[in-house]
């Protein structure tokens, strides 16, 4: 396996083969951990038929992980961004504080008189007494107070670790207060210890949104092409860029779940003709449940990257099948690309052949590969923080995924077709399209897109990340804030793909331009050359410098 790595090597110009790197990383662990991590760390030997990965398994205690908890996935990611629902965290102060505007899911109020509740972090701030005697009364008072002061349309309550343990029944408090106040009030049992990562929280959130919000408002939406975008959280304004492109195409987005979205959008979004899914991991449950209840079909899209955006727009146009829409989409693509092309052509002169590694999220480590490919860069290693096997290997493995104890604890809703609102025409249309080769309910997964003999690492630990840098020195790593500074300490620029380092949007066409410029700037920066002071420069370093200048 130890053939000399060259520029054509799937792992870039430096370092050993992926298999050797894998062995090297596993070496440090005790036997048991080695076995477990071994399953989460693969060489992508057959991209066409991906090997089985040990994703969505428990984090080994003591391994410093990127993963968060169920509460973070539920409140922090999926429901937190709904700006006109008032969110109350039931628990001691930490969780409410840490999830207070710490994700960059952007929002604007739509009309005068509305309040953007995201600027508030409400917590019942449980004290020892509540832990001993129960906190239901405190929660009830908090809901009443919030109602008195803000009169919101809806209040959403999130349970943190101790709540489940002391047996507070947040759901009965919510029901009681809903009845009393006459507004929609619902709770989420998303205690941090549930599941193995924030992914459990996504599922819990999907269930709650589906039960308490979807289908509440049947007001018809008059538009020829109506869709929802599921799993787009408007980080750095991504959803707004997607909105812009869709408006140009003449497609109506009823609800974007749940970025830049209002409560009203969500309660009315079952009026759509089609659901398209961005982040498969966090919201595939919703897509499935809406199809079962209302007949709305779904397919996977990706608006991160030029090729992905074009492909996704065309597929949506084809779904509706009207020539005017298909033509309009082509016109929009042509006009937008005219703007993007000179940028990408310029940037590519500097970025082609450079390497990247991506360890982030449950879909981003896949989506962003498109953007790097657009720039002629090579992704040598990638992995998710909290995804499941289907996000790596594709949805065709779903029937073979063993349900473990942690997943079984998360409620699986039984959904049946709605007696009056199930649209029987939609499945018929879906079937006829499928016959002509159109794919629905699809996701091919990350590994199929990755090059042969690259590294796939699930839930990467700090230690493994450091090894990776030591061995390969990628030109850029896409990750999150918890890794950013350790990566940069080691002389590699790190792009935060959760928060975008205060930049963005990166979606759609204008977003791609932002991304190309940011990555170009990061991979061309010279700051680390100053790390070694001139009086310490050895002959070797000078040679390296000379090489860098000629390169």
């Amino acid at each position: 396996m130890s053939e000399e790595a060259t520029n054509d090597s799937p792992m870039g110009p430096h370092g050993p083969s992926a298999a050797e790197a894998r062995e090297e990383m596993l070496k440090a662990y005790p036997k048991k951990t080695q076995r477990k991590r071994g399953k989460q760390m693969l060489v992508n030997e057959e991209p066409g038929t991906p090997a089985e990965i040990g994703a969505n398994s428990r984090t080994v205690p003591g391994i410093i992980t990127q993963r968060g908890c169920s509460y973070a996935g539920c409140k922090g990611v999926v429901i937190g961004p709904i700006y006109d629902v008032l969110h109350i965290t039931h628990g001691p102060i930490g969780c409410g504080w840490y999830s207070w505007l710490s994700r960059r899911n952007m929002n604007k109020i739509r009309k005068p008189g509305e309040t953007n509740f995201l600027q508030y972090s409400m917590s019942t701030d449980m004290q020892e007494d509540h832990i001993v005697f129960g906190g239901e009364k405190q929660l009830e008072a908090a809901i009443q107070e919030a109602y008195d002061e803000f009169k919101p349309k809806a209040i959403s309550v999130y349970a943190t670790c101790p709540v489940g343990l002391i047996g507070d029944d947040i759901h009965s408090v919510c029901r009681k207060m809903k009845e009393k106040l006459g507004i929609n009030i619902f709770g989420f049992s998303c205690e941090g210890y549930k599941g193995v990562s924030q992914s459990a929280g996504h599922h819990i959130a999907n269930n709650g949104v589906f039960k308490h919000m979807i289908g509440v408002d049947d007001t018809p939406v008059e538009h020829k092409y109506k869709i929802n975008i599921l799993g787009e959280y408007n980080i750095g304004g991504d959803a707004w860029e997607i909105d812009r492109v869709f408006a140009l195409c003449g497609i109506k987005i009823i609800g974007t779940l749940s970025g830049g979205v209002s409560y009203d959008d969500i309660t009315n979004c079952h009026m759509a003709d089609l659901n398209v899914v961005m982040c498969h991991r966090s919201i595939n449950y919703m897509a499935e449940m809406m199809e079962e209840k209302f007949g709305i079909p779904w397919f996977k899209v990706n608006f991160i990257g030029l090729e992905g955006t074009k492909k996704s727009l065309r597929k949506i146009a084809q779904y509706f099948g009207e020539k005017e829409l298909i033509d309009r989409v082509e016109e929009v693509i042509a006009a937008e690309m005219a703007e993007v092309r000179p940028v990408v052509e310029d940037v590519k002169t500097r970025t082609t052949g450079k390497t990247a590694a991506l360890f982030v999220g449950g879909s981003r480590a896949h989506h962003y590969q498109d953007l790097f490919e657009d720039m002629g860069m090579k992704v040598i290693a990638a992995g998710y923080e909290f995804a499941h096997r289907d996000d790596y290997e594709g949805r065709d493995v779903l029937p073979n995924i063993k349900i473990d104890a942690d997943s079984r604890n998360i409620e699986e809703l039984t959904v049946t077709p709605d007696e009056t609102r199930f649209d029987a025409e939609k499945p018929v249309k879906k079937k006829s399209l499928e016959e002509s080769g159109f794919e629905f309910s699809d996701y091919e997964g990350m590994m199929r897109q990755m090059a042969k003999d690259t590294l796939v690492i699930d839930d990467i630990s700090h230690y493994e990340m450091e090894k990776l840098i030591e061995l390969y020195k990628p030109d850029v790593i896409g990750s999150g804030i918890k890794d950013k500074y350790i990566v940069e300490k080691m002389g590699v620029p790190c792009k935060q793909l959760h928060s975008y380092d205060y930049g963005g949007p990166y979606a759609g066409f204008k977003g791609a331009i932002n991304f190309f410029k940011d990555i170009d700037r990061m991979t061309s920066n010279k700051i680390w050359k100053l790390a070694t002071p001139p009086w310490r420069n050895t002959g070797e370093a000078t040679a390296e410098k000379a090489e860098a200048v000629t390169a």
Partner: protein, 471 residues
């Protein structure tokens, strides 16, 4: 929480010792002015060389605390977790604890593991000391020391977690020693910036003292680029030095709340290890710095070094030059208790009126503590403890301060009131350099003074019709 809020809010005291009439929400905390206690403990552990913080609970706690500390310090912050699952929450976390500790030791080879608890492990009542002992017994006492501090998020704030961890570390390591080294001093700082800690060391050196500063995260949380990979960020006070704290000539414990706290680490050192305690407030401004340097002179048996005296002169000179821009201006201060007291002292001494002095912590005798340090009377000073930003905002709308002083979390209020925010404390995540703000001593006061004056001048310029540039 008792709800006698109809008679006014019990957590707010006006000048006459009354609670204001208007009832403020008390059941929910809106926009908290405090963080949870494990965060404070993690800060302390980060200030010990080779120490890896370890939180016993859900991994979310470690992750959230890491991301918050990182966004302030912009440095790597590793905190391990025992990653509880639902089963562990029911049956206890011992298995995870043991596995976690083993993995941490193998991967990071720490010199110490600082074990904090979370509301999860505290609620189920995991016996940490028992678990640690069992682990160590089964390893024949080998491996790094495990130091435990109890930090449930449902009691106290990050400040409490911080001070509790200092005490836990001192109790664990400081040996009873018969010798006294006259040039050795222990410094137990409040939750200060990295720059403050560096300056404290410099000051000690100027007094020809060898300082054991616990914690010292000045390098671990603000270091340079690495030429080689470090498992644990370099820097921090060594365990060896902590062990020898009993030989110091004195302990300088910083923070008004600790002076009053008979259970503080400094008090413990005095009682149990016979090291004299000198308690000082967070030395912000001239008077508190005078007290601080007087204590230093006493400990060191040296007069004030010329350099420091010169700093003092420059500070007074600056006060004289700029007093017309600050005198009579109203300021609202919020943050950790000891920081707020120090700032109130400083801001009142330059002629500003600290109309709101708020902390998220519940502090016994808060009003007395704060007002004792305020110059120029306290009739117009409102002191709030157990505050959240909703309460602070409510009062600020009425009292109309000209300046806000505190963490980044005051920004929405500053924007609403169209007044400047001078950022200090934790966290600062919407500006750079929070970890480099110097507040301690005359030099720190000078830096803060310039920040205050310039913030006010800038806002005056921006809101002026003419916008003169020569002021």
């Amino acid at each position: 929480m008792s709800c006698n809020c109809k008679q006014g809010n019990p957590d707010i005291m006006t000048a006459d010792g009354d609670s204001p009439e208007a009832a403020l929400p008390a059941a929910a905390t809106r926009n908290a002015c405090k963080l949870c206690s494990p965060l404070g403990a993690a800060m302390v552990f980060k200030g010990i060389r080779g120490c890896l913080p370890f939180l016993h609970g859900s991994q979310g706690c470690a992750t959230y605390i890491r991301r918050y500390m990182i966004s302030h310090f912009r440095e790597p912050v590793d905190i391990a977790s025992s990653s509880f699952s639902e089963d562990d929450a029911i049956f206890g976390g011992e298995k995870n604890f043991t596995a976690g500790v083993e993995n941490v030791i193998r991967q990071y080879q720490p010199e110490m593991i600082g074990v904090g608890t979370t509301c999860l492990s505290e609620t189920i009542g995991d016996n940490m000391l028992g678990m640690i002992k069992k682990y160590q017994d089964s390893h024949a006492g080998k491996g790094p020391p495990l130091v435990h501090v109890s930090t449930p998020s449902y009691t106290g704030t990050h400040s409490d977690g911080y001070y509790a961890a200092i005490k836990a570390v001192v109790q664990h390591f400081a040996k009873p020693l018969r010798v006294t080294m006259p040039r050795l001093v222990n410094v137990l700082p409040a939750m200060m910036s990295c720059e403050d800690l560096r300056y404290l060391r410099e000051v000690c050196a100027m007094y020809e003292l060898d300082a054991t500063i616990l914690p010292d995260y000045s390098t671990t949380l603000e270091g340079g680029s690495w030429e080689m990979y470090h498992r644990i960020s370099p820097g921090g006070v060594t365990i060896n030095d902590i062990e020898e704290m009993g030989a110091a000539t004195a302990t300088l414990e910083i923070g008004h709340t600790q002076a009053n706290n008979k259970d503080s680490a400094g008090h413990w050192m005095e009682k149990e290890r016979g090291v004299r305690l000198d308690s000082v407030g967070w030395p912000i401004g001239i008077r508190l710095s005078d007290e601080f340097f007087a204590a230093m002179s006493l400990i060191a048996n040296r007069p004030m070094p010329d350099q420091i005296a010169l700093d003092r002169g420059r500070l007074v000179d600056a006060y004289i030059d700029a007093h017309k821009y600050v005198a009579g201006k109203k300021v609202a201060i919020y943050g950790e208790p000891d920081l707020v007291i120090g700032l109130a002292s400083f801001l009142s001494e330059i002629g500003m009126r600290p109309v709101i002095c708020a902390t998220g912590a519940k502090v016994k005798g808060w009003r007395e503590l704060v007002t004792a340090e305020i110059q120029g009377g306290c009739n117009d000073v409102e002191t709030i403890h157990g505050a959240d930003h909703a309460k602070i905002s409510e009062r600020a709308r009425e009292l109309k301060p000209d300046l806000l002083v505190g963490s980044s979390k005051g920004y929405p209020l500053a924007r609403e009131l169209k007044i400047p925010l001078m950022r200090i404390g934790f966290p600062i995540h919407d500006r750079f350099g929070g970890q480099r703000i110097l507040s301690v001593g005359y030099r720190g006061a000078l830096e803060l003074f310039d920040m205050v004056v310039n913030a006010l001048m800038e806002s005056k310029q921006e809101n002026s019709e003419t916008g003169y540039s020569y002021l």
